[in-house]
């Protein structure tokens, strides 16, 4: 009985971690605020005032109150895939958050698990779009798929560089400990190269310009999200917000993991976010073939150079 009680408590704690603290609620809040920062900085760059801080929360509440239109000929995955993406991603956010906020937790190989979990939203977008019976959505889905194939290769090369630098550790906690002992990995030659590569891949993962090919509003009218309305659209927006906070936290853990006290964490988060926003606002959208050539050409070569330098100990 006592053991059963303990087990229940453990379960409750896991559920709390998943739903509230480093998991869903927390990362969604951070992501929505980061999304507001994105809109605000974009507005300031364009010499506008920009929306108030609660704008993204308002959008989510509004969307959840709207009618959900299901197009004729849509499959069941049309309504399921937004939730699939969110559930998978929140698991990744929880693992990352636990590593940062409750140090010492984690398991061997959680780095690899998180990399896989962060690819789930893209898969959810693809399944949702391709089951929505809309030609523009399927164009968007095929672009998303090509983009995923494009950026995963250099992204994984950048991650392997970090693994090599921290003596083959595939546990996030060990990578943080290694950086705490020997300094952040971004401050070495190979680390800096890997950071640039990973940042550009994250840009594509988040669907920011110049890689917002799958969702471009002017060209294919919202692309993958074209048929979504109401609550499923709100869930996709939330997934995007969680993805924003998760990927940036992931970059901080891998490359800037020396000092993870709250003040420094927030500072690093905002710094990486503003760099991403500036890249977004100063670059026009690429075509899908240009993006693919960019990822498989220069960026993969750069990632390989970083990896070779890391094996040389630079």
């Amino acid at each position: 009985m006592v053991q059963g009680g303990c087990f229940g408590e453990e379960k409750m704690k896991t559920l709390f971690n998943y739903l509230i603290f480093p998991g869903f609620l927390f990362s969604a809040m951070i992501g929505l605020l980061a999304g507001w920062l994105d809109r605000k900085v974009t507005a300031r760059i364009q010499w506008r005032v920009g929306p108030p801080w609660y704008q993204n929360f308002t959008d989510i509440i509004k969307l959840s109150g709207k009618e959900t239109v299901v197009p004729q000929g849509a499959r069941i995955t049309f309504l399921l895939s937004p939730y699939l993406g969110l559930l998978g991603l929140v698991l990744g956010a929880t693992i990352l958050g636990q590593t940062v906020f409750f140090s010492g937790q984690g398991f061997t190989g959680d780095l690899i698990v998180v990399v896989y979990l962060m690819a789930i939203p893209a898969i959810a977008v693809m399944t949702g779009a391709s089951s929505s019976a809309n030609p523009l959505a399927s164009v968007g889905a095929s672009r998303e798929m090509k983009l995923l194939l494009g950026y995963e290769l250099p992204f994984i090369l950048a991650i392997i560089t970090v693994i090599v630098k921290s003596n083959g550790a595939i546990r996030l906690g060990e990578i943080i400990n290694h950086q705490a002992a020997y300094g952040s990995s971004v401050f070495s030659l190979s680390g800096a190269i890997a950071f640039i590569v990973a940042l550009l891949c994250v840009q594509a993962k988040l669907g920011f310009a110049p890689f917002d090919i799958a969702e471009c509003e002017q060209e294919i009218m919202g692309g993958t999200l074209i048929e979504y309305s109401g609550l499923p659209l709100a869930v996709f927006k939330l997934t995007k917000a969680v993805l924003l906070s998760t990927t940036l936290l992931f970059l901080i853990i891998l490359f800037l993991g020396k000092d993870l006290s709250p003040a420094f964490l927030i500072l690093k988060f905002i710094m990486i976010l503003v760099i991403a926003i500036l890249i977004k606002n100063t670059n026009p959208r690429l075509r899908i073939d240009q993006a693919l050539r960019f990822f498989w050409g220069p960026l993969t070569i750069l990632g390989l150079v970083g990896l070779v330098l890391a094996t040389r100990g630079l």
């Binding site: 009618e67 959900t68 009218m221």
Partner: protein, 141 residues
Amino acid sequence: MDFRLKALTKSIWVFHISTASCNNCDIEILDCITPRFDVERFGIQLIGSVRHADALLVTGVVNRKAAPLLKKVYAQAPKPCVVVAVGQCALSQNMFRFGYNCPEPLDKILPVDVYIPGCPPKPEAIIDGIVKLVNKVRQKK
């Protein structure tokens, strides 16, 4: 629910439909999102797909070809969705009133919530119309 109504009026996503207009009204609508007027301050955004729309901004005389498409687009929009008629053409068909291909004005085809007159209306007039619409929606509940 009052909470959701408030959220709705604080984040209006606008879908812009041009039904045989001369493009002047469309340019004035785009002026509203430029730095001088910047309606994103109030959460108003132009969006690409009608499925995300909260308001349809209709410009131009609705001619024979555009009318069935307009009805289709309105049916595709998730409700609650308001219709805003922008410009003299959408209001009363202006000088195309006796034209052979302009059968009826916009408000005979769709339920119009707000009329914004002008040829073209100034961005101030469009914003004023949206403010009136928001007040109307809040009072109606």
